[in-house]
Symmetry: C2
Subunit: 343 residues, 2 copies
DNA sequence: TTGTACGCGTTATCAA
DNA sequence: TTGATAACGCGTACAA
């Protein structure tokens, strides 16, 4: 099927006996144009079903109205919700979002950023891969004067806008809640990976204990990959060693889920024998038995914030792009897995 | 910060004392060029950090290497997994994916398609909104000779490539499995919405019963929105009416989850008293207690297939675009919620 | 094998 | 307020 020839500003111009420049100005809301011509142009544009060619516009103006968005994994609730948030803001401003994923592979991350630059996106919103150690590809983005916003997984090595949640506070809330429920021997599942967010969660855990007069016990801290299997293994170790513990605060819902399984398989009751708190607010946490207390990171709002920071940077003078770090306060979602005292 | 001036083919041409056309040909692998010039061009391109300007290329060639992808909801596991699948294939072919969501609102769907066309995407991959009744916006896509691939939610009103799963077969498998486990009074949760996929699941349920000599009983069929609350309500109705039933096949995991809660709250055992099968293979189904038997739709593979159909259409002669309907065979994921007989 | 010349559709600049 | 002209960077007939 042959393309129906699209109408251009020249077609409109010809019909009205004006020039393309006039039409362009009328369509772009340029003030230096008479009301009558503007109306005529708009009318004719409608009649001819004119649709602007964004490619031509992009070539001339240097702005594509495209945002490159890079996430580790598209099909994880946390990330897809952030994409959703970004997209809501972007679309309302007539921007489109190109999504790519790194799968935590450094090369993919580099390639995606390069592809974004080739596609001439107006800027990038990204979460750094777990294994990323250097940031030259991101620096290139900044060197070109393009806005770069990092979310969740960020780095102090890049001077650019960021949005994170207060992981420390989330962990502090979670641990304090367990203490308030009467727990005193609280295990913690974390990861050996050198990512700030987990260090912060660990710090929140330790400080909450200390603030409540409980001495942190390193025998109760387990490091792994925070997947379900890790949670199972940690819980089994705890039980085998007959380590004394009455609660687990896991830095990930998945590991918490693994622990829940093992604890129940061993005939112990949740929360009576072991109270349990996770982190992420994954959708499944409300469906477990008992439902899992966890920390909500407000991913959609995080997406909104990332997009807003992006447009702030985009609209600021290039010489002095405003870089800003936004910290979102998390919320403890209290469910049955940690509720020993009836409220 | 000022944009570091990007190098263009003209810069390369100047350095080598050839013309831009020569450089263009060398870079595009055009055979009508000498080996020596080709090598020189490639070498200089590397030295100058040349990156092709896809916008200019798109304007000239009419191909943007962009795919518009429209889903009802980005942050639902099923859809984000399909996006992932599409993206994997697309990126490997140097295409990028622009994602938009309709939120099941018809206007959003129209706007998204229009935005895609304005962005001059090379084609569209979409799932139709629940409330969409007419398809003019999609017809426009086809009239322009652009590839359009529909997935999951499709319509016979559009003559274009589609990929769906065999909902009938999924339901047939699920119901037959329950029968094989000894169930004879099997309830079904479905929806009143006039979407083919649910009709097909209902048909598979009925036929499986009949094929095994069980008379379908309409008193065991419940219609709602298939959300968790609907599942709860249906299960409560079943129990209150003292309706005789020994299994539930729900057309959605969410409603199955609601039923699981109510059944357990009433002191009944799963699967001994009530066997349970859902549909979707949502991530949470492996974390429920007991884990939920369900139907896997292979969303990532569905994304791969959709992308492959897309590129088939893109590469076929415009006069005779090959339209093809691919049906993916689902898989019954058997878990404890339905396993009455130990294998 | 390479060069010439032009156009893709829009916008920016300058002049009127 | 409008017009004329050039340019964004690339690709492609056509010519040499």
């Amino acid at each position: 099927m042959e393309n129906t020839k699209k109408t251009t500003i020249h077609d409109i111009a010809a019909k009205l006996n004006v020039t393309a420049s006039t039409v362009s100005r009328a369509l772009k809301g340029n003030p230096r144009i008479s009301d009558s011509t503007r109306k005529a142009v708009l009318k004719t544009a409608r009649e001819l079903n004119y649709e602007p060619n964004q490619i031509a516009s992009a070539l001339r103006s240097g702005r594509t109205q495209l945002i490159g968005m890079l996430v580790p994994t598209i099909n994880r609730s946390f990330f897809s919700s952030i994409i959703r948030g970004v997209e809501e803001v972007a679309n309302s401003l007539d921007y489109r979002v190109i999504v790519s994923q790194s799968n935590e592979v450094f090369e993919n991350e580099e390639n995606a950023v390069r592809a974004f630059l080739n596609a001439r996106v107006d800027g990038i919103i990204a979460s750094i891969g777990k294994n990323t150690q250097h940031f030259d590809h991101y620096k290139q983005v900044l060197e070109r004067g393009l806005p770069l916003v990092l979310f969740d997984r960020t780095t102090p090595q890049l001077h650019t806008s960021q949005v994170v949640i207060d992981d420390y506070q989330g962990a502090y809330l979670a641990t304090s809640h367990l203490i308030a429920q009467g727990c005193v021997k609280i295990a913690h599942f974390t990861t050996e990976r050198k990512i700030d967010i987990y260090k912060e969660r660990y710090r929140g855990y330790v400080n909450a204990l200390e603030d409540h007069g409980i001495a942190p016990n390193e025998a109760l801290v387990f490091s792994g990959s925070l997947q379900l299997e890790d949670g199972r293994a940690h819980a089994e170790t705890l039980l085998q060693k007959k380590e004394n513990f009455d609660a687990i605060f896991s830095a990930s819902d998945y590991a918490a889920m693994g622990a829940m399984q093992v604890v129940r398989e061993n005939g112990l009751k949740i929360p009576e024998d072991v109270a349990l708190v996770g982190f992420l607010n994954e959708p499944f946490t409300s469906f477990t038995d008992p439902p899992l207390t966890t920390v909500n990171q407000f991913p959609i709002e995080m997406g909104h914030t990332a997009a807003n920071l992006f447009f702030n940077a985009l609209n600021s003078e290039k010489e002095k792009i405003v870089t800003k770090k936004t910290v979102i306060q998390p919320e403890l979602v209290i469910r049955a897995s940690s509720l020993k005292k009836k409220p």
